[in-house]
């Protein structure tokens, strides 16, 4: 058995630990409060000029800029949280003023240097700030950061590239979708969309990418940015791509783009016998497309054995103007209609109340 003396020692030791912990908890609080108050105290005198800078006209900014750029390091460090917070909250002249302040201070260059820091937190913070500054020269370093071994840093880099990247960043973003160190597809999609219409030609190269995820993201981006010039390729993806998720994305994109060459592939996609998820999204896309010629096929879908497809078809008909409504009413009045009539009535009732539940989403993964 365990000797009593050992137990006594353990008891005393544990009591000491309890005491130490209490002191630690209390002490931690003191330290944190003190640090916060100290930061506020140091930053207080420059807060006024900072606000002045943000609200000033272009020509008045210069003097304030130089005054703020010359504050000592301690004050700058205390002010930095406020600055980074404001960077994301202001636009227009105020944002330009902040960017100029960072540049005058050399903080933008420091941030680029921090991108190679050993601390992941520093790399991530630097990426965040560079994105908010829309600092174009940082783009190549940020592209390299897309392969960082910390996933949060990769995310921050992708977000930053969305704001300060260019066409040359697009291939890196698409490559970051797969491999040992990936960036989540949602972030890549957002970044590519944020880069704007100028880069969409580079984005379109992803339509032929061997990885299905890259193809899916490309299609989603093109659909979201409304780039109609590639509608025919997206239609081909809907018809022929081996991956179901890519086809679903293509269906949705064709609906958003609203081009006539989307009609045929979508009608083919909703035919019975195909995958349910694709048929559902395809039916919804026919509604967004707005082609009246889809009224007949959609009306036939009202009686589909899968209730989700039928419901999507009913709500799509609501978006096809008077012909769609007429088809719905005809189906609703049909005495022998069964489930088709019920779906039609449901859609009409929702519309009458004022809020049709469009866009039932099928996929979440890609």
């Amino acid at each position: 058995m365990i000797p009593t003396s050992l137990v006594s020692a353990a008891l005393l030791g544990l009591l000491a630990v309890v005491l130490a912990q209490s002191l630690l908890i209390v002490g931690n609080r003191f330290v944190r409060r003190h640090r916060q108050r100290r930061r506020e105290r140091i930053a207080a005198p420059v807060r006024g000029p900072l606000l002045q800078l943000l609200c000033a006209e272009e020509d008045e900014q210069t003097e304030l800029l130089y005054r703020l750029a010359e504050i000592d390091r301690r004050t700058w460090v205390a002010l930095e949280p406020t600055l980074t917070a404001l960077l994301g909250k202001v636009a227009g002249g105020a944002h330009t003023a902040l960017v100029r302040l960072y540049e005058l201070r050399g903080a933008a260059v420091d941030a680029v240097a921090d991108l190679s820091s050993r601390s992941a937190a520093r790399r991530g913070r630097a990426a965040q700030v560079l994105g908010q500054l829309c600092h174009r020269p940082a783009a190549p370093s940020l592209c390299r950061l897309l392969a960082d071994h910390d996933p949060e840093v990769r995310l921050a880099a992708a977000r930053a590239l969305g704001r300060c990247g260019g066409p040359e960043s697009v291939p890196y973003l698409l490559e970051s979708l797969h491999g040992p160190r990936t960036v989540p597809p949602g972030a890549v999609t957002m970044a590519l969309v944020s880069l704007g219409p100028e880069v969409q030609r580079s984005v379109a190269a992803g339509l032929e990418h061997p990885e299905p995820l890259a193809r899916a993201v490309t299609i989603e981006v093109l659909g979201a940015t409304g780039v109609v010039s590639h509608a025919s390729e997206i239609a081909r993806a809907l018809r022929e791509d081996p991956q179901i998720e890519v086809r679903i994305k293509a269906a949705r994109a064709l609906g958003r783009l609203g081009m006539p060459d989307g009609l045929e592939p979508l009608l083919a996609a909703v035919r019975p016998g195909g995958p349910v998820a694709l048929r559902m999204v395809g039916a919804g896309a026919l509604g967004s497309l707005g082609a009246v010629a889809a009224t007949g096929p959609l009306a036939k879908l009202l009686g589909d054995p899968d209730p989700h497809v039928a419901a999507a078809a009913a709500r799509a008909l609501l978006q096809l103007g008077p012909e769609g409504r007429a088809a719905l009413r005809a189906a609703a009045d049909d005495r022998s209609g069964g489930p088709a009539a019920a779906q039609a009535r449901a859609a009409l009732a929702e519309s009458a109340v004022g809020g049709a539940r469009h866009d039932v989403r099928a996929e979440v993964a890609l």
């Binding site: 606000l51 943000l54 609200c55 404001l86 909250k89 202001v90 636009a91 227009g92 105020a94």
Partner: protein, 124 residues
């Protein structure tokens, strides 16, 4: 010129907007949450309310609805501050009775112009 009420839980935005509007010559009352905003709107002679749509506690929407429901504040002009690309926010804001909205991130100068525009509209 006018007495503007600012309600936002974000200290930076509060200070910034207060500074700009004071610079533009308005008198400013600043509060941190919805309940305080309601109280301030009822007790003082406020000419315009700038409300953040999302605040912990009573949101800007709740405040706007309450203001519209009471007789003495029913005509009070309200500008909602909403977040970028939350379209639903804009619709819901107008449905709650807002007169205009401004999207974050915003330019302080643009905000000031909107405030002036809404005040002028009301005067007419």
């Amino acid at each position: 010129m006018a007495h503007v009420l600012i309600a936002d839980d974000d200290a930076d935005i509060r200070d910034l907007v207060a500074f700009k509007l004071t610079q533009s010559g308005h008198q400013v009352t600043v509060v941190e949450d919805g309940m305080a905003a309601l109280r301030a709107a009822r007790e003082n002679t406020v000419d315009l309310a700038l409300l953040d749509i999302r605040m912990p506690g009573m949101s800007g929407l709740d405040v706007c609805r309450e203001l519209r429901a009471a007789a003495e504040t029913a005509r009070l002009p309200v500008i909602m501050i909403t977040a970028r690309s939350q379209e639903g926010d804009v619709e819901v804001g107008f449905a709650a009775g807002a007169d205009d909205y401004i999207i974050k991130p915003f330019s302080p100068r643009e905000l000031s112009s909107r405030v002036t525009a809404v005040l002028n509209r009301v005067e007419r």
